[in-house]
């Protein structure tokens, strides 16, 4: 009998396991594949604390709603800064600031409204234009009219972060089981029974299942199907994305670059590669007409072109060789806020997923662990409660 079973071996799951184990909780983590093999390891490692393009693209009301997550952004900005020391592992966090670009007068206007909204929530962000912008970011194309600058933004290495959490959790006694798929969640006296089945990725995978007083669903795009095992409908939506990596080059791009008018994120890694992403879509494979989450989404040629086009705002990348493009899937919710906290009417069952779960992952994980341990997270998380989707669930 464990105190907590965490389902999902991505950043969130491993981080929740770490925080729980550190508090002396007996915790088991169940992952159907290897650790870090899905969204946590496939994203491009942006630490973006400004509201993203997708949050400000649909008018002020939607932006206001998305801004309700800004307290988490502020917390995450601090959390990343201390993460390498906390986990005693390299995670390549660099916070040299981020720029969100505007190329048209309309975009510049949107940028100003966005910045004022963010400042009301306490985010340090300034709109720069002209010589001020050029001197900060001489690599930008002449067509860039302005940029919102947030000095706390940056990047982390998604290849390293999740495994750093996993090793720390393991050192603290967490039991990490990979190649173990959960196939049923059953409420029983004093907690939950998790039926499991080993998969090809299995290491020490066992078939005897797991019993735990509490269960955390931190399974990204699979969170909905896990919640359904407990007869709860969660509106989490898988979104397939594509990323592009160039060959390494000498450092020239210290900032995270985003765009307020289209899908773009760009940064240069510590190895010198430029990563381009930010939302160019990929296409889910379909099996028998239904989306198949088990296979990597198919890359679309248009998305490769789209990533390359978006990069025109930083002309230096146009001459770099493209090394590879890859796809991944992220998890969004209809109101773009995370799903974080206990599931109503399911004692001991918690969920943690939703947009920006890499950037905000360390914060989501700590707040959820605090909720489990004390019932009192250090920041209020009611606004992100799965209970806001209670209308979807009759029982």
């Amino acid at each position: 009998m464990y105190d907590v079973a965490v389902i999902g071996g991505g950043l969130l799951g491993c981080a929740v396991a770490y925080h729980l184990a550190r508090a002396g909780t007996r915790v088991v983590l169940l992952e159907k594949d290897e650790l870090n093999r899905h969204a946590s390891g496939q994203n491009a490692g942006s630490l973006h604390f400004q509201l993203e393009y997708r949050m400000v693209a649909d008018g002020d009301a939607a932006a206001e709603r998305a801004a309700r997550a800004l307290p988490l952004h502020l917390d995450a900005q601090r959390a990343w800064a201390g993460l390498a020391a906390e986990l005693d592992a390299p995670v390549e966090v660099v916070q040299h600031g981020g720029l969100m670009l505007a190329e048209t007068a309309d975009e510049l206007d949107r940028l100003r409204r966005k910045a004022s909204l963010e400042r009301r929530h306490g985010l340090d962000v300034t709109v720069l234009t002209g010589a001020e912008l050029t001197s900060l970011a001489p690599y930008l194309a002449a067509g860039v009219r302005g940029a919102a600058y947030a000095p706390g933004e940056g990047k982390a290495n998604p290849r390293l972060v999740t495994l750093a959490y996993a090793r720390a959790a393991s050192r603290l006694g967490a039991d990490l089981r990979t190649g173990t798929r959960v196939t049923a969640l059953t409420r029983e006296a004093g907690g939950w029974r998790l039926t499991t089945t080993p998969t090809a990725a299995g290491r020490g995978a066992r078939t005897d299942g797991v019993r735990a007083a509490a269960v955390v669903l931190a399974a990204g795009v699979w969170t909905a199907e896990l919640a359904a095992m407990a007869d709860v409908r969660l509106p989490v939506v898988p979104v397939a994305l594509s990323m592009t990596a160039t060959a390494p080059t000498t450092p020239f791009l210290p900032h995270l670059v985003q765009h307020v008018g289209r899908r773009l994120s760009m940064k240069q890694t510590s190895d010198g590669n430029v990563l381009i992403g930010g939302g160019s879509p990929a296409k889910f494979r379909a099996v028998d007409g239904r989306i198949d989450l088990e296979t990597a989404p198919e890359l679309r040629y248009e998305s490769l072109v789209g990533n390359a086009d978006a990069a025109r705002v930083v002309p230096a990348v146009l001459r770099l060789p493209v090394l590879r493009c890859w796809s991944g899937a992220t998890t969004l919710t209809p109101d773009q806020l995370p799903v974080l906290g206990p599931l109503p009417r399911r004692p001991g069952l918690y969920a943690a997923t939703g947009g920006s779960a890499f950037t905000l992952g360390p914060t989501y994980a700590r707040l959820l662990a605090e909720t489990l341990l004390t019932g009192e997270p250090s920041l209020p998380i009611d606004a992100y409660s799965p209970a806001r989707f209670g209308f979807l669930n009759a029982v």
């Binding site: 071996g9 992952e31 290897e34 650790l35 870090n36 093999r37 390891g41 290849r159 390293l160 495994l163 996993a166 090793r167 990490l176 990979t178 190649g179 090809a200 990725a201 290491r203 592009t244 990596a245 160039t246 060959a247 190895d271 879509p281 296409k283 889910f284 494979r285 379909a286 989306i291 990597a296 198919e298 890359l299 679309r300 040629y301 248009e302 490769l304 072109v305 990533n307 390359a308 086009d309 990069a311 025109r312 990348v317 146009l318 001459r319 770099l320 060789p321 493209v322 090394l323 590879r324 493009c325 890859w326």
Partner: protein, 474 residues
């Protein structure tokens, strides 16, 4: 508009083109090289007009066909839309296509930049490359593949050094050594890790009917080496390659079967451990592969018409298993016949008749290839020292991979190790390090290479300038 785009103008591709075009199919051929022939029939530049390419001259003549579009110096770097998926509403809708275009796109990059074509079917005939076997010093200048040395000699008429040592496991070494001797090079010795298995050699004899060309080539090479006094040693392996003061290869340290070491001065070490099927584009397209060590590693699976698991993507030649040019030719013909039927260009009964002699030929070739593979099995990879570089693009050592596996005991797959250590993330996309890394992971985790899996192949399978993608198709 093309019925078939053929990727790779080696023996399999040329044979297929001949059949396809002769039956009226509109064919596009893309190849990274400036001329037809692939690795096996690599042609000298036109300035070496006197040079002869004895084998495959008829095949090379196919590349003169004016009814075929030939795009040289052009890499096929991605196949998009090959899977039966949901309709793609964002740019690849049927309305965008010219009449008769398929849903699938082949992305290519050539002298005019990047573009896509929409053939009705794709035939992948990408061939094979030399199996890299890492050991200390294998990245030194002067350490080359036997295939690479052969390219120098055959295509540029150049000797890449003065004193050669050839080492490995593949009988091609004997042929390359003889070519070097004929070109006036000093060949210090030829080393094969293992003596060919006598029983397997005997079994080759009956399988050799119709394959006598290859046996003759081997026999001729041995005679040349004997006359030139070049020692051919079995059971000797390379321990390491040492650099001279100029940082280039100066000597090769060898281990005899009894374990004693000796040092042989040389400025070129040519390695020939066997060949690895070039499956990257096929894997990127989503074609199913299986692990077949005797056939060179991961090979693309196919049905009896050489059709891969992806609709309208066929495969022929070494990417279905390393078996030599003759088998590649037979597979190319068969694939072409299958496509002619599938595309409705030739009635199926007629295709059936045309395929019969090709299948007979193919059976004979496969028997011989199987026997040859059994006689010269690829070496069981020796565990690399911690200091040995496995991924030369990203400079990842065997020690780094071992340390990653120890620190993260859940890691089980080539993709997992790639993500953490960057091995295989460089310019070559893992072509160079994949065999050794997979073998190391398998050895360290006690699993089979088949379970460890290949790296996921990602587009572009060859680097292309980002600027050529921006702006979309011309």
């Amino acid at each position: 508009m093309h019925d078939v785009a053929v990727v790779g103008a080696g023996p399999a591709g040329l044979a297929a083109v001949d059949v396809l075009a002769s039956h009226g199919a509109r064919v596009l051929v893309v190849d990274e090289q400036p001329r037809a022939g692939g690795q096996i029939h690599r042609q000298p530049p036109a300035t070496f007009a006197a040079a002869t390419v004895p084998a495959g001259r008829a095949l090379l003549a196919v590349a003169e066909r004016a009814d075929v579009d030939w795009w040289w110096r052009t890499a096929g770097w991605g196949v998009f839309g090959g899977h039966a998926g949901l309709d793609d509403f964002a740019g690849s809708t049927p309305a965008d296509r010219a009449d008769g275009d398929g849903p699938m796109r082949l992305a290519v990059h050539g002298p005019d930049g990047a573009r896509t074509v929409r053939p009705r079917a794709v035939l992948l005939t990408a061939g094979a490359y030399d199996l890299p076997v890492p050991f200390p010093g294998w990245t030194l200048p002067g350490v080359l593949t036997a295939g690479g040395v052969q390219v120098f000699v055959k295509s540029a008429h150049l000797l890449p050094g003065r004193r050669f040592v050839l080492a490995g496991a593949h009988p091609l070494l004997l042929v390359v050594a003889a070519q070097l001797v004929a070109a006036g090079a000093e060949v210090a010795e030829v080393l094969l890790v293992r003596r060919p298995r006598a029983g397997a050699l005997l079994r080759m004899l009956p399988a050799a009917a119709g394959n006598t060309g290859k046996l003759r080539e081997g026999g001729h090479a041995l005679a040349v080496l004997r006359r030139a006094g070049v020692p051919v040693r079995f059971g000797t392996r390379v321990v390491r390659a040492d650099a001279g003061p100029d940082g280039e290869l100066a000597a090769v340290v060898l281990a005899a079967p009894d374990g004693t070491h000796r040092t042989v001065p040389a400025d070129v070490l040519a390695l020939g451990y066997g060949f690895v099927p070039s499956t990257d584009l096929a894997r990127q397209a989503g074609c199913a592969v299986r692990y077949d060590p005797a056939a060179g590693g991961w090979v693309v699976t196919h049905d009896r018409w050489q059709r891969s698991s992806v609709p309208r993507v066929s495969v022929a030649g070494e990417i279905t298993g390393v078996a030599g040019a003759e088998q590649a030719v037979a597979e190319g013909r068969l694939a072409a016949l299958g496509l002619l039927a599938d595309l409705g260009l030739v009635p199926a009964p007629r295709i059936g008749r045309l395929a019969r002699p090709v299948r007979r030929d193919l059976r004979r070739r496969r028997r011989f290839a199987t026997a040859l593979a059994a006689a010269f099995p690829p070496p069981a990879p020796a565990p690399a020292d911690d200091e040995t570089v496995l991924c030369r693009c990203e400079e990842v050592t065997a020690g780094t991979v071992r340390a990653a596996l120890r620190a993260n005991p859940h890691l089980r797959t080539a993709n997992g190790v790639k993500l953490l250590t960057r091995t295989g993330m460089g310019l070559c996309q893992g072509r160079s390090c994949q065999p050794a890394v997979c073998a190391l992971i398998a050895a360290e985790t006690g699993r089979s290479v088949a379970e460890v899996g290949p790296y996921t192949a990602r587009p572009p399978i060859r680097p292309i300038p980002l600027g050529t993608l921006a702006g979309g198709d011309p």
